[in-house]
Symmetry: C2
Subunit: 381 residues, 2 copies
Amino acid sequence: MQETNVQNKFVETKFITLYDERDPLVLECGKTLSPVTVAYETYGRLTNDGTNAVLICHALTANAHAAGYHAPTDKSPGWWDGFIGPRRAFDTKKYFVICPNILGSCYGTTGPSSLDPKTGEPYRLAFPPFTIRDLVAVQKKLLDALGVNRLAAVCGSSLGGMQVLEWGISYPDFCETIIPISTAARQSAWCIGLNTAARAAITNDPVWNNGCYTQQPMKGLATARMIGMLSYRSAVELKRRFGRHRQNGAADRFDGNNLFQVESYLHHQGEKLGKRFDANTYIYLSRAMDLHDVTHGRAPLPEVLGGIKARMLCIGVSSDLRYPTEEQKELVRFTPNARYAEIDSIHGHDAFLIEFDQFTAAIKNFLKKNVAEFGKIDIVE
Amino acid sequence: MQETNVQNKFVETKFITLYDERDPLVLECGKTLSPVTVAYETYGRLTNDGTNAVLICHALTANAHAAGYHAPTDKSPGWWDGFIGPRRAFDTKKYFVICPNILGSCYGTTGPSSLDPKTGEPYRLAFPPFTIRDLVAVQKKLLDALGVNRLAAVCGSSLGGMQVLEWGISYPDFCETIIPISTAARQSAWCIGLNTAARAAITNDPVWNNGCYTQQPMKGLATARMIGMLSYRSAVELKRRFGRHRQNGAADRFDGNNLFQVESYLHHQGEKLGKRFDANTYIYLSRAMDLHDVTHGRAPLPEVLGGIKARMLCIGVSSDLRYPTEEQKELVRFTPNARYAEIDSIHGHDAFLIEFDQFTAAIKNFLKKNVAEFGKIDIVE
């Protein structure tokens, strides 16, 4: 039995080893990997029949800590705390919510920064390439280990949304509903381009050393993050937030140290990511996104999406530059039981981290109508 | 008398020294600069009364070579050849067209890569900061030296359009018409952000050495260019041109050397700029763009634009991410004699280099209606 999650109660990240040498993870590229450790968190309690689980798929730089606090000293809760908890969009009085750190990440699940047991050194660029489908295969193995027999919902945005789509396609009988947010059936040329520039920024870093860095290539990662941020947020938002204001106000406008506020914001965001993320991991995960194409090796798009049996709520954001609403509407057009909800927001691709009320209303309403009631949970808050 | 430009005839870049120690260029920042050499090209012939001149203001990485060929071995003509020549938008049978390389650039006009006469070394980061208004002041000095008494038109896109606006505001009685393209009254937060990321890419380059590089920081400049290209072109164009195609087709999709075509395109564009441009120059010119704000030190926007006496044709491009059409419409709203033309194109901010027919039609029509006929030129092609 898993722990009950109650708002503000402490949670911990758990770890499980899922593959070993006799039963390695066989990746889509044909290479194998073992062992594979997965870091994950759970909130709420699994019913005896294992059918009330909700899988949360995180985006590029997030981790398993989606909700709650780890310790009394924590200043902020998990990255999607506003959505997970009693009476929230994913109501932990009803659902057993699972958030695994994805394969290839650097937050506990095996990835390029993990130690290769064969060498005792980090894998670095020796880590095999992987795809969104590989991420999902590992998640399925985790769910099997946890006793989950069916997913009431799979939800995620961006890279998370790509996983959601692959869940609906790869395991059509396992998912009752899927909720892809701000994502696409296949990574667009513009998004591949943005990732190309971000990877170039990383590999140009003086300390990158072809992936064998002894200290994090902070500057390169920071610049990669800046490029990302400029596509995660909208021009309208940046204008309203920062305009043309300088850090030191009306002081010398020719002083290059008197940054524009938007410059300062980007440098700050860049440094923050540089301190918490791994450069090789960024390269690998962005490549997995670029490889994302639900049609690859399958069939034309209408046929592939036509095979989704889950009821789908696809959510787009009006100002998303990276995955424009046209791409969400394309998903809805070809998926049999699909509806589209558009979030009206200036916050662009990052709206899923900001527009709690709109997202919560859309998701709650959808789940209420589309997921069977579970009568077996009896949780005291 | 200037040379006549006839299509495909050879032109040459000329050089003029405009300021000396006794009469230095006083920049907006308060610092002085001398001598200032300006590289420029002219096409067509100036009338005796000096009133048939057209000034072409170039964008970030261009130069004085706007039209014609320099030598029989040239593979391509100047960067705006399609617009300048007999019967073209700027008809050299009628107009004396001048294109100066801007102050601070690296194509012949004094800039950070020029030798500082005091040290015999390149200025590098010792070059004083400058503004769009400084660029325009130098252009005015050039026009005075050439005997130009009035501009029939001033035209330019992007950074060029910023100069056009400053011409209309700073010299209201000198310009008969102004044609700003894909520009803005003030650089937006998003554009400042894009320039911030580009500058970070440059200053991260292992050989940048705080501006004192002995070889060009090619990698950093290339990444800066990639960031630029992703805002100069539209996602729709990149999708149509490149889609998700790989360089080596269906070969191993996990081979990182089998680039996506859009990756290859961006690397190619980056390398091209790295070979032809100067890193410090990129930093200085992008900073001048970030400082662009026609209201600075003047008055609120309606009042500043209200002082423009020239008739204005402002041209926007439907898919311009960098300077969206709203920003062009804002210019038109507050300028007394202004009309707006929108180019319907998927080519984004770079459309001014591609959509010759649409731009030519708009400009020709506007000039025909708004510029007095000049009867004094008698040019034999």
